[in-house]
């Protein structure tokens, strides 16, 4: 499909000749669906669709108690401090953004009256301005009205470096102005194709100015409301024991009619994923459990009880392996894996190609991740239109052997291949996590058969993902030959996600290994394509540029994608819930109900 044809289709939708759903279906067939299709339509002046849960109850309340189990316990309730998903889930119960993402990547208004579009004048033609109309008659839990002041304040709060908000990235390069009490205008410095970041989803929850006003910047941690949230959400705060339990009660003044259904809400934390699944699927002690990183077999067995069901939704998260093309065992200027070095064998593309052939992605999916992930050869998989159609994976020990034979790597007496005295012996590192260790085992076995010896190493997650400069085991240091982890794609757009492939983000000693490009690999073509995509307002051209970045890295076999991860949750059979891979599980908790 050419760019032109696409434009015609969008026009058809706009004129009503083609249904939204029809458009999305066609895009789907082209490998270019839902979330970004929605964005495409929005940019072309077509309103977003809605894939949220249809809400049946006819009045608010009467649903009794809703029990949610988060096996990682929430520890704080300020959405801008929320370091992990668990905290974002908890704070989202009380706070709301202007809009959230549904499971198909549609932008759904929450505190906004409508999603900005070209048609309603919310988006400017130059891609620099977004105007949000706010919902009227929204009240904070303490009865004060919600206004544009709160929105402007939230931006100031998060942008202040002294606040040290995790969301600060979304607010640093923008200007937020109050137009009137219920209108806010955002101005971007550059034309910004992906404008739905500030005030949207995880990063966008609005704080009440009258509670946080005095606690901006350095004093931020002293705010009493950090632990006793006053928001606009469907449930009001009752009690919170950090790391243990959070309770809420129905907000009678909630701004969506007839919502929420439940009278009380309890979020319990702690334990492990398997027993969380048990508590929902087997004993029914809880209604909902989240992030069930459990072997699918185990989940399936639990589901047979019939007390609950497992639900998976797509996300942009990707489990992948980096092959280090720099030398991790030689120190240059105080750092190992420096770009000034070359890996003795992994810098050979043939070796990397062979290793890629030794990964049995289908088995890994089938026997380990199940519904938790889909085997893939593309780094970006969601939204599907950013997924490369060109990249394919294959598992063939034979081919790998042949490639290595041809490249001159001969098996030594110990069965390990070598060339010029350099053995194909690698340290393969990942974090401690059962599926990852099993994946490591599977890959190790296949490599063994191709004469490659892997030493498996696993590091405690808190160390592996730490930013401690002194620690050699962090994933950004890459002091190993191969490493495997998952990286999160926070919004249904891969631009920011793909900064892992640009040369100026290479992690090194100078930037204290905080650079996003962990692989150290770079390609001027990728840099160029990425830069172009950042300014490209035409969604189709932009998608093509981003796909190019992805393909360069995957084809170089520096990045070996394994699985496109899904978000797995379990709910009681009678609970109607709505979770999304693009937003937190509680993003639409107001609409949950029991049948």
């Amino acid at each position: 499909m050419t760019e032109h044809e696409l434009r015609d289709l969008i026009a058809e939708v706009a004129e009503g000749r083609l249904s939204r759903r029809g458009f999305v279906r066609r895009m789907l067939a082209l490998g270019l669906t839902a979330p970004m299709a929605g964005m495409m339509l929005a940019h072309s002046g077509v309103a977003f669709a809605d894939a949220t849960l249809p809400y049946k109850p006819t009045k608010a309340g009467g649903g009794g108690l809703l029990k949610v189990l988060l096996w990682q316990a929430p520890t704080l309730l300020n959405p801008h401090f929320a370091s992990g998903t668990k905290d974002q889930i908890a704070s989202r119960i009380f706070f709301e953004p202007l809009a959230g993402w549904d499971k198909e990547g549609n932008l759904i208004p929450q505190l906004a009256a409508e999603v900005p579009s070209r048609e309603n004048g919310g988006l400017s033609a130059d891609g620099r301005e977004v105007t949000w109309k706010l919902k009227r008659n929204v009240k904070w839990h303490d009865g004060k009205p919600f206004t544009a002041d709160d929105v402007v304040f939230t931006a100031e709060y998060a942008a202040d470096p002294a606040t040290a908000a995790f969301t600060t990235g979304a607010y640093t390069n923008i200007k937020v102005e109050k137009i009137d009490d219920h209108t806010v205008k955002i101005t971007f410095r550059e034309p910004t194709p992906f404008w739905a970041d500030p005030f949207v989803g995880v990063t966008g929850q609005i704080l009440p100015k009258h509670h946080f006003g005095e606690y901006k910047g350095a004093k931020s941690r002293e705010a009493p409301a950090n632990l006793k949230p006053v928001g606009t959400g469907p449930y009001k705060f009752v009690d919170f024991k950090p790391g243990d339990v959070l309770t809420g009660e129905r907000n009678p003044d909630y701004h969506v009619p007839n919502q929420p259904f439940f009278d009380r809400l309890e979020v319990k934390g702690g334990g492990d994923a398997v027993s969380a699944a048990r508590a929902v699927l087997q004993t029914g002690e809880y209604d909902y459990a989240w992030n069930l990183q459990v072997e699918d077999d185990v989940l399936k067995r639990m589901e047979t009880g019939g007390r609950g069901r497992v639900s998976t939704v797509v996300s942009g998260d990707i489990e992948f392996i980096i092959l280090n093309t720099t030398d991790p065992w030689t120190e240059v200027d105080g750092e190992r894996s420096s770009v000034k070095t070359k890996h003795p064998t992994l810098s050979d593309p043939k070796v990397r190609e062979a290793i890629n052939l030794l990964i049995d992605r289908d088995s890994i999916q089938k026997f380990i991740y199940g519904r938790g992930g889909t085997a893939t050869a593309s780094f970006v998989n969601q939204p599907p239109r950013f997924k490369s159609q060109k990249l394919k994976y294959e598992f063939s020990i034979e081919k790998a052997n042949k490639i290595l034979d041809d490249a001159g790597y001969k098996r030594g007496s110990d069965g390990i291949r070598e060339k010029d005295g350099k053995k194909l012996k690698y340290v393969f590192q990942t974090s401690i996590n059962a599926p990852r260790q099993k994946t490591q085992a599977i890959i190790k076995q296949a490599c063994q058969r191709a004469g490659i010896d892997l030493e498996l190493k696993s590091v405690t997650a808190s160390v592996f993902f730490s930013s401690d400069v002194a620690n050699p085991d962090t994933y950004t240091k890459l002091y190993c030959d191969m490493e495997m982890y998952t990286t999160t794609q926070p919004q249904p757009d891969p631009e920011r996600f793909l900064n892992q492939f640009v040369s100026w983000e290479i992690a090194n000693k100078e930037n204290k290994w905080l650079g996003r490009n962990v692989s150290r690999y770079s390609d001027p073509a990728a840099d160029e394509a990425y830069r172009a995509a950042q300014k490209e307002l035409d969604p189709v051209k932009r998608a093509a540029l981003l796909i190019k970045v992805n393909e360069i890295f995957c084809e170089a076999h520096v990045i070996l994608p394994l699985l496109s991860r899904t978000r797995v949750a379990a709910g009681a059979s009678n609970l109607m819930f709505d979770h999304s891979g693009w937003d937190v599980d509680t993003w639409n908790i107001a609409a949950w109900y029991r049948t």
Binding site: V274, V294, E295, D297, V298, R301, S363, K366, F367, I432, A434, Q437, K438, Q440, A441, I442, K444, Q445, E455, L456, K457, S458, T460, V463, N471, P472, D473
Partner: protein, 273 residues
């Protein structure tokens, strides 16, 4: 006697077993996942179809070695500290007992994390991956379990050094060193060995608990504790997975404790009278 036999069989099993059952511990066979015990896999398989008998025998080496080595560390350190405290008359004793109490209050887990972080690379360079982790775990488990031994040895020393035969040897002009090494220590060692036998089982359990908390051996090393931990989510369909390592730990603990009881009797001089 029977217990010595059981322990001997276990030890022989993990030492000689891999020679008789030369199945690789990490041979993945998706067609035989969670297989129940059969001729092909006498102990069944785990969820990657890896042979549990082979894994048990391999892991047993490590579990038993951890148990005995940690016991050795705990008893040697405890005996040395307890002996010094028990022999010193005035100042050293309270200081050492203070240190002992201090160690009793130290948390194992952060300490283990620290040790792994500080020494892993150095130890790995010298002893290899498994050897390095092995040494760290042994040092941490043993290093945090010497205190009861030290107290025991000290109490033994305090009572033995007042015994007439010790005084008799002192009256002969024996040096303190000779007193301790030739006379007090051999007589104090009986209860220490009994305590040591208990340490073996405690260390095996401690290692498995560390695995549970994700701080033990690398996950691809199938110690008994690790196997038990991995099996826990599949108990309902594959109880054999947990049964064999569980039984192995139990038999080891049981036989070692019975041997300890036997040793206690054997070391009791009254018995012979």
């Amino acid at each position: 006697m029977a217990s010595t036999g059981v322990l001997a069989i276990l030890v022989a099993g993990v030492l000689v077993g891999p020679l008789l059952w030369p199945v690789p511990i990490d041979e993945i066979d998706f067609s035989a996942r969670l297989a129940t015990p059969s001729a092909d896999h006498p102990f069944g398989t785990d969820d990657l179809g890896q042979d549990l008998l082979a894994r048990m025998m391999y892991g047993g080496r490590i579990s038993l070695a951890v148990g005995f080595a940690a016991m050795l560390v705990a008893t040697v350190v405890g005996t040395v500290i307890g002996a010094i405290a028990g022999m010193s008359r005035r100042y050293l004793d309270p200081v050492l007992m203070w240190v002992t109490d201090l160690f009793l209050s130290l948390p194992q887990l952060p300490l283990l994390l620290l040790v792994i972080y500080l020494f892993r690379d150095e130890l790995k360079a010298v002893f290899g991956v498994e050897g390095g982790v092995f040494i760290m775990i042994v040092v941490v488990i043993g290093g945090l379990r010497w205190m009861p031994v030290a107290r025991l040895v000290r109490a033994q020393f305090l009572s033995l050094r007042e015994k007439e035969f010790v005084e008799a040897v002192r009256a002969m002009g024996a040096s303190r060193w000779r007193l301790v090494v030739r006379h007090i220590l051999p007589n104090a060692i009986g209860p220490v060995i009994v305590a040591g036998t208990i340490e073996v089982s405690a260390a095996i359990i401690a290692e498995s608990t560390l695995s549970f908390l994700g701080l033990g051996f690398p996950p691809d090393i199938p110690t008994w504790g690790r196997l038990l931990f991995d099996a826990k989510d599949h108990l309902d369909v594959a109880p054999h997975w947990a049964l064999f390592p569980g039984a192995a730990i139990f038999l080891t603990v049981l036989s070692i404790n019975f041997i300890g009881d036997g040793l206690r009797d054997a070391f009791d001089p009254r018995r012979v009278m």
